[in-house]
Symmetry: D2
Subunit: 267 residues, 4 copies
């Protein structure tokens, strides 16, 4: 039998078979953003009875996995998360996986997914993780300048705001007795200002007092000082540096002025 297998071996031409392997290589000297999104998270969040419109523990779990990603992949210099989505920004001159898109995306999405399952118990001690387990898909996008990168991040934060305002209204209406389709109809075509007034007048909610994590999403980065929310040792043996999670306006210039190191191209 081995004899025939030995013959089989000689028929195989690895070089030919490997010549079909292409890699999409990402343009050098551009900021790479890997954005991952939960697959079927609508069903997953129902199955695991996440609170609506936002489940604080589920978001903290996402953030904790993002912190782990930053500790594992030192080329990730900033992460921004909202709902079941996270964007990871790699430094402009990253050589991770030789800048091959599939390698970069798959390594990050795989690590994040394993970590999510590993850490689940720490955030939902009372709830078992049911089958099928959570999974994510991902993509890589290149941005050629800091300005456009910041436009990208602004786009995600604006999306966070718009979705959260809508969802807050929607779930308040549902909790107050409307059916889901009635709530949907009710909100159809309303503008930001109207939704804001709806919350105040009908439910006595001042949108600005809702938790910043729900309104602004989560920004994750290596902090300079000793923050309260610290997780682990930083890179380069600088143990006083920790990955921090903040919920702040990242559209405004002030955030980036206060944290010049994040997109500093020399680090």
């Amino acid at each position: 039998e081995l004899g025939s297998f030995e013959e089989d071996i000689n028929k195989v031409k690895p070089e030919y078979v490997k010549s079909f392997e292409f890699e999409r290589k990402l343009l050098p000297s551009t900021w790479i953003v890997v954005r991952i999104d939960g697959r079927h998270f609508h069903g997953f969040s129902e199955e695991h009875e996440f609170e609506k419109p936002n489940d604080g523990q589920a978001l903290n779990l996402m953030n904790s996995c993002a912190v782990a990603v930053m500790e594992e992949f030192k080329d990730v210099v900033f992460s921004y998360g909202v709902s079941d989505e996270f964007s990871f920004v790699l430094k402009r001159d990253s050589q991770f996986h030789d800048r091959h898109a599939s390698g970069i995306v798959s390594a990050i999405v795989s690590f994040f997914s394993s970590m999510y399952v590993m850490k689940w118990k720490g955030f939902f001690s009372q709830k078992g993780l049911k089958n099928p387990p959570p999974s994510f898909d991902g993509r890589a996008v290149c941005y050629p300048s800091k300005e456009i990168l910041r436009d990208y991040l602004a786009w995600r934060q604006v999306d966070c705001h718009i979705n959260n305002q809508y969802n807050t209204c929607f779930w308040m209406l549902v909790k107050s007795g409307k059916s889901k389709s009635e709530a949907q109809d009710y909100l159809k075509g309303t503008r930001a200002q109207e939704k804001s007034e709806l919350l105040v007048q009908q439910f006595g909610i001042d949108y600005q007092t809702l938790p910043a994590m729900f309104r602004q999403g989560s920004s994750v980065f290596w902090g300079e000082e000793d923050p309260t929310e610290s997780y682990s040792d930083g890179p380069d043996g600088k143990s006083w540096k920790k990955v921090v999670v903040e919920h702040c306006n990242i559209i405004e210039q002030s955030f980036w002025e206060a944290h010049p190191n994040i997109l500093d191209e020399e680090h």
Copy 2:
């Protein structure tokens, strides 16, 4: 404060930001292979004290995750695994993720990773899963014909054989008292025939009697009959169909003749 945020919103141009998103689309009507590989599995297997040269339970865990992948992603028609690597073959006309490479690779690698962590306890009840959790990277390759697809699979199975024969010798030498570098030197330049004789003469091992899973790797596919190794319900309500795991020669024509449905382009 909201006022200023509302102004920020208007500065965001989603269409512009999204214009940077490209997807590598895989050529239609070609067989897509997604191959995933364990990241840092050398360290991971030491950390978790896997048996050498092969850990049966670790391989069974990999196979079980591959079965779950096939049950979740119905476009995967065949999978082949060896060591910490698995290849998933999508049917020629798959429209999964619109044939976008990142979407396809990330969804499969993420699901496999979560599943690996979820199922760990079922295979290693005595060993906890340590940090960092296992992760994989992946890539997608297109093959334009069945013949070249089979050349690809043959290449992987030949690799399995070559690596396993080497590793079997290496670990027998190490277990018999040689250091790792002595074992390496001893084997340097030896041919298949010599390794085969080494095993028989020095260790009384007939390579052909070693477990088929170690020698041939694992082929995973939807079986026609009621197999012994069955895991779950098949697609299309045909409950008599199960995903099976076999350890057989997939280079030979006979395997594909015995299972004409696997690469049947009509299913």
Copy 3:
């Protein structure tokens, strides 16, 4: 001055600059089609007073350039032209320009363009070539099987038929006194059968008797026999082989059965 230039030289890092060069590589073992199209040929044909709806000499010039392409680029095994467009089929295993799309497309489109200007006088001895000179754009597409390649060619020939039938009606109406927009309105929504009847009843034209080159386009390939329309010496020193231009149905199986060598993968 040289001194400062010598300093400049040392600042240049060719490896870095070249790292931005990517090439799109075309999947191995697929049929590559390079399709070129005249740029602004509507204006070009008016400027040079081409006959309408078809200018025989202009088409012969296109065909003559395609013959030259096949003689220059021996990997091109079949060409099909209609109007100001030509499709060049490269053999499945072509290694031309390492299968880099830009190299393949640019070499063919450049050669065709130069040739068009060179040969102009031979076809239009009475008309000078005016500025700007004719130019073409091009693209490369891969087809993974002969069947799909033939579907592609069928698509182009059907397009030729549909456009030619329409244009024949349109220009007969214009020549009979209608304005261009009247002719357009007249034909709007008419079906093939109606156009066919219009030509017979109003203009006494049996569409089937129009020149085959106008109705079927031009197929260019290395012929086996000594044809009447022969242009030059063939490859491999087989001087009895000539590139031929025919105007025939290439959708039907019969053409390909009569010329089995064209898509023969062994040549």
Copy 4:
């Protein structure tokens, strides 16, 4: 017969056939450089008896074609040529051909090629253009910042200098009686300084006095003033603007400071 063709028509599925067409799209907001190179120009220059090491008329013809390219393709903001090669820089936000690499490269290379044949007689009135006509291949490269774009141009100018210095020595040696291989051996391993001295001492040539076009290559751009070397009307009806050809150091900052409009992102 038509009946059968009508049946053929219905078998054609344009959407399916077109689904195989991919375009490589170039990252938005990056500088696109299209570099074209003469194909087989070694033979072409011998066949047409170009002067060695530089043929002034051949270079002027190249430059004249580049001027025509800039007049035709208004997104090209700068061109740099040396020997049988030209680089065309498209403005950062060009939407030419929707930034599809094949379209951009093929349109420019085709136009350049036609123009070269058209203009030949104006530069070589005594020499006919022989078969096969000149052709070029091309590629597109993206540079994400002005700095890296200028690094690219510097690389090309340094290459021009190195090649020209070598070629000047080589042909002086050949003209003085050495065979080509003797000249090659003689120059092997010599450094810039040594070549410079060789020219002075052996041939009484001060390299710096050679024509700037040979030493510095040709920079082509829309000039602000009324230059002596002017060719045609500029864009936007600003008839006082002409495309100019200069032979100057483009590595130094001073050139770009003197011509701030060239890479001005607002124009």
